[in-house]
Symmetry: C2
C-alpha cells in the first residue's frame, strides 16, 4: 500500500462552520441598519447560489473567476432578492468578506496540529488563495500549502482540481488523502486516484438537517472530526 | 501613501543560506563514497547552472519546468563534470533534495514572527511549491501563502512572476513589499509597482565575497536582516 504523504482538505463545511459564521456576519452588518431577517436562511440562500456560480465557469460559459468575485455577485443578487437596499460598495465588500471570517469546528485546530506533525496539510478548496489566507490567519489554521481551484484554475469536482494538487505537491495521487464532509468531493478525488477520508459534520446545514452518513466502507476512512482522523491514521 | 499589506520574499539567499546548506548536504552524500571535493565550490557550481536552466524556460525554448527538475538536470551535469560516478538514481534524487534542506539565516524565524503579526507573508521564489513546503516544514518557516514561479508559470525576473503574486493576493502591487537580497529581483518587482526592501546578506556567496550594498535610497527599505526590517516597518 502506498504511504500517505499529504492530506488535502475541503474547507467550507469540513474545516469551518460556514453557516453559523456567515449568519453572524450578516446579522452584524445588516441588523444595525434595521433589517430583521432569518440569518441562518440568509447564509443558506447565499450558499445555494454557490454551485450555479461555479457551474458557469465549469461549463466554459465564462472564464475562470475567483470565488471572492462569484460570492460578491451572488451577494448583490441576494440583497436585491431580499429587498435590502442602501448598502455602500465598501459595505458590500466587507459583508462579502464574511467568507474570510469563518470559524473552524471545535476540534479542528487540535486535530490539524496532530496531523501536521506527520503529513503535509494542504487546502484543496474552491475558495481562492486570498480568501483561504485571510481565513487561516484569523482562525489560526496552519496550512503547509494553499492549493485548490485558483491554483488549478478549475473548480471541484472537475478532475483538474485534484490533479493539479497532486502535481504541485509532486506526489502520486495515491499518496494524497482527500479529507471532506461531502461524498461527491471524495468520490471525485477517488476517481483521480486519491485516498479518501469522510468527516461527519452533522451541523453543517444547521440543527435538524444532519447529512446521512455514507455506508461503511464507501471511503478509506470515516471520522467524527480531525482528532479522530489523526488517531485513525496513527498521528497522535 | 498606499499601506503595505503583504510581504513577498525571495527565498534562496534572502531567507536561507543555500551555500552552506548545499555544501553540507553534498559532503554528507558524497564524502562517505570517497569523494574529496571543495564542497563550497560544489554548491557554487550547482548554483551557477541555475540561471541558464531557467533561461531556457524564460526564452520559450522549453515549456515551464519546475525548479526541482532543473536542479536535478543540473546536478547530473555537475556530477559528470566532476567525474562523480556510481550514484544510484534514488541517491541522486536525495542529493537533489539538498535544496529542500536549507537553513535560514539566524535572525529569520524571529523576524518573520514579528512581520507576520502585521503582514501577510508569501514566498515569491523561483523554487517550486513542493520545494518551498519541504523547506518550510524542516526549518519552521511560516508562510501564509507559497507563490512564485510555479504559481505564475514564469520565472523571476519575468513580470508575470510578480504580477501573479499581487493578483492572487488580491492586492495592488503597491500594497506588496518585495523583500530580497538581490537588487535585480527588487528592480524587477519595482518595475511592476511593488515596494522594495533590500536585505544585506554578506555571507550568501561565502566568506570574502560580500555583495556591494546598493546606494542609499535605491530601494524603499534596506536592512541587515528581518528583525531590523520589522523594526523599520514598525512591526515589533
Amino acid at each position: 500500500v502506498t504511504e500517505i504523504k499529504a492530506l488535502t482538505f475541503d474547507v467550507f463545511g469540513t474545516v469551518v462552520d460556514w453557516r453559523t459564521s456567515v449568519a453572524r456576519e450578516a446579522k452584524a452588518a445588516l441588523a444595525p441598519k434595521g433589517h430583521a431577517l432569518d440569518w441562518g436562511a440568509f447564509a443558506d440562500r447565499w450558499r445555494a447560489l454557490y454551485q450555479p456560480g461555479m457551474e458557469a465557469v465549469r461549463s466554459g460559459a465564462r472564464p475562470f473567476t475567483v470565488l471572492d468575485e462569484l460570492h460578491r455577485e451572488n451577494l448583490v443578487a441576494l440583497l436585491a432578492e431580499l429587498g435590502v437596499t442602501g448598502l455602500a460598495e465598501p459595505e458590500i465588500d466587507d459583508l462579502n468578506r464574511a467568507w474570510h471570517r469563518l470559524d473552524p469546528w471545535p476540534e479542528v485546530l487540535d486535530g490539524m496540529d496532530r496531523l501536521r506533525r506527520r503529513y503535509v496539510l494542504a487546502s484543496l478548496s474552491n475558495g481562492n488563495v486570498a480568501l483561504i489566507v485571510a481565513m487561516a490567519r484569523r482562525a489560526g489554521l496552519r496550512w503547509d500549502a494553499i492549493l485548490g481551484a485558483e491554483v488549478a484554475r478549475a473548480y471541484k469536482p472537475q478532475p483538474e482540481a485534484y490533479d493539479a494538487a497532486a502535481r504541485v505537491l509532486r506526489l502520486e495521487p495515491a499518496e494524497c488523502l482527500m479529507v471532506a464532509a461531502h461524498p461527491p468531493d471524495l468520490a471525485a478525488a477517488a476517481a483521480r486516484g486519491f485516498r479518501t477520508a469522510y468527516i461527519h459534520r452533522p451541523l453543517e446545514r444547521g440543527p435538524g438537517r444532519e447529512a446521512k452518513r455514507p455506508a461503511a466502507g464507501t471511503f478509506d476512512y470515516a471520522a467524527e472530526g480531525f482528532v479522530e482522523l489523526a488517531a485513525a491514521l496513527g498521528a497522535r
